[in-house]
């Protein structure tokens, strides 16, 4: 197993990550009510692999992550050459598979290896800035420096005429945009959430920075008690419900896309001091749902020792995208942005993107144990 992992990592980097996948995988026609999580659960028996499906079908889905267009045919690609299997077929072929256990036998995470970083060097042409305490995205002592760090590495490698880059870790995030990136002490920074610049063009991030194409989309999920009868299949299902989201977290998604949940008092938004406080209120029956992203939710539950006590709704509440940024005043502002975007676009078309994401999901899951 160890050999296979190392080998696939090396192959991916040497072959420019263009392994043929055309004859591998399946197709699936979207039905009403399908979500990325439900399709991932059905074909990979693993909701965490939703992004593999999303990025294989980004164009067909027209950028929709929450409500998927009915009737669209999705490609469900192979992961590491492993054919996706629907639960029913899997039951015939492999009757011993237990529920929730991925079909592909999971390697112990200790054997997982980060991709090599041939372009990473000190004092390079492009100086990148990131920081820790943002696992599984960026964390210096995490495998490969985190999922996002690995995706950035791989994107730069896939760029046309690749340039060497350096990565600097500064754990005080409040210094990153202003002054370090604004004053060009570093060339590009990651990962950053893009504000809605169309609605808020004066936002200082919109005024001062170019944002790359989204590198990774994070799903904001609703968590309910495991025995809860409440469902979330469309927006009207939660009108009248109370939702806890910690103080300081964004709320724009509750108003956008015609929701106006707060303006029209359609939901009761409860703010607690921390994600854990929200889950305590959920346990005590003081709120109906907790809103947290797909990583923060499970890790909070695990830290509380409450694994199994809650369930996540399969329809996402919203998504936020994580980006690489560069100052608009940088002498290579748009050109470095393009170099990165072109590499990212190429990366998303290769299996390497999902291999990286998948690897970090495994490490993340393991960290919850």
């Amino acid at each position: 197993m160890l050999r296979r992992w190392i080998l696939s990592g090396v192959l991916a980097s040497i072959a420019g990550t263009s392994m043929a996948q055309e004859d591998c995988g399946q197709t699936y026609v979207l039905k009403k009510g399908d979500t990325l999580l439900s399709v991932a659960q059905e074909y990979y028996q693993d909701r965490g692999k939703w992004s593999v499906i999303y990025y294989a079908n980004e164009e067909a889905l027209g950028g929709n992550l929450v409500d998927l267009p009915e009737g669209v045919t999705l490609d469900v690609p192979c992961i590491d050459g492993q054919k996706p299997i629907v639960a029913a077929m899997q039951a015939e072929e492999q009757p011993v598979v237990k529920d929730e256990e991925p079909v592909a036998k999971t390697e112990p995470v200790q054997t997982l290896q980060a991709d090599p970083t041939p372009l990473l060097q000190d004092n390079a042409d492009i100086k990148l800035l990131t920081g820790s305490n943002y696992a599984p995205f960026t964390q210096q002592d995490w495998l490969g420096g985190g999922m996002f760090t690995e995706l950035v590495n791989a994107s730069f490698e896939s760029a046309p005429s690749p340039l060497p880059f350096s990565v600097t870790w500064e754990n005080d995030w409040s210094k990153h945009l202003f002054p370090l990136l604004d004053e060009k002490k570093f060339d590009m920074g990651f990962p950053w959430i893009r504000p809605n610049c169309d609605a808020d063009p004066k936002n200082e991030r919109c005024v001062n920075f170019h944002f790359s194409e989204p590198v990774f989309e994070v799903l904001e999920l609703l968590f309910a008690k495991a025995d809860s009868k409440l469902g979330f299949y469309d927006d009207s299902d939660i009108h009248g419900a109370s939702i806890c989201r910690p103080t300081g977290y964004f709320i724009h998604d509750l108003e956008e896309n015609g929701r106006l949940w707060l303006t029209n008092n359609l939901i009761d938004l409860v703010r607690a001091d921390s994600p854990a406080d929200c889950f305590k209120m959920l346990t005590d029956g003081k709120v109906d749902f907790v809103s947290a992203n797909e990583f923060l939710g499970p890790s909070t539950i695990a830290e509380m020792g409450k694994t199994g006590a809650f369930k996540a709704m399969e329809r996402a509440l919203s998504t936020s995208s994580l980006h690489v940024v560069i100052s608009k005043n940088h002498w290579r502002g748009t050109t470095n942005l393009y170099r990165f975007n072109a590499g990212l676009e190429k990366l998303k078309k290769t299996p390497r993107y999902s291999q990286i994401v998948d690897r970090h999901w495994k490490v993340f899951r393991d960290s919850l144990k």
Binding site: K184, K328, N329, H330, W331, T334, Y338, R339, N341
Partner: protein, 214 residues
């Protein structure tokens, strides 16, 4: 130049007839240095006139050359192949090496038709009339023209993929008696400017104004 102790004084001459700059003003060493000039892909096109006759400094700035298309007639540009059979417009006097470099040879092989009227406004007029498929020009010149001509609602900028990335350089004629000294001078000055932070101040003041104006 000011950063360089070896330079006692220098003069800047503004000559609006760009076509005279490289030849004869530089080749006859009437002038020592000229800017800003793009550098062709000299590895692929060593016999390009600029490659044969000029030395190029390190890039002073870097920009994207983008396609500007009509909102009514969008064109996809996902690979070089998408440009085959298309008609592009770029005013006379602007470089064309990006259409030839990186193995493209679009003009030599007749894969792409290039129309070269006198002004930017001519190009955008032809775009509106459907006579061309796209205006191919650097992002700043293009955006400025869109604003000046009040065409922002009618023209799309193809952001997914630039035609090319171009550095802007200072050049010196290879026939100049002190060509190499001059080149070293300008590169050392640029490097010193970057170290002192003055380079960034200059870029900042201009880029802030430019992005605000769009």
């Amino acid at each position: 130049m000011k950063n360089n102790a070896e330079v006692k004084d220098f003069g800047i001459y503004v000559v609006n007839n760009w076509s005279s700059h490289l030849d004869p003003l530089l080749t006859d060493a009437v002038m020592d240095l000229a800017y800003p000039w793009y550098k062709p892909d000299c590895k692929a096109m060593p016999d390009n006139w600029r490659c044969e006759n000029l030395y190029f400094s390190e890039p002073m700035f870097e920009i994207l050359v983008l396609l500007f298309t009509s909102k009514d007639r969008p064109i996809a540009f996902n690979s070089d192949k998408d440009m085959e059979g298309k008609t592009l417009c770029r005013p006379k006097g602007y470089f064309t090496h990006d259409l030839e470099g990186n193995g493209r040879l679009w003009l030599t092989k007749g894969l792409v038709k290039l129309v070269q009227p006198i002004t930017m406004a001519d190009c955008f007029e032809m775009l509106e009339e459907g006579k061309i498929d796209a205006v191919a020009i650097n992002e700043f010149t293009g955006r400025t023209a869109l604003k000046d001509l009040n065409l922002e609602g009618k023209v799309d900028i193809v952001q997914s993929r630039p035609l090319s990335i171009e550095g802007l350089h200072v050049v010196v004629g290879k026939s100049h008696p002190q060509a190499e000294e001059m080149l070293n001078l300008i590169n050392a000055g640029l490097s010193g400017l970057k170290d002192s932070g003055d380079y960034q101040k200059i870029i900042d003041s201009h880029m802030t104004r430019i992005w605000e104006s769009f």
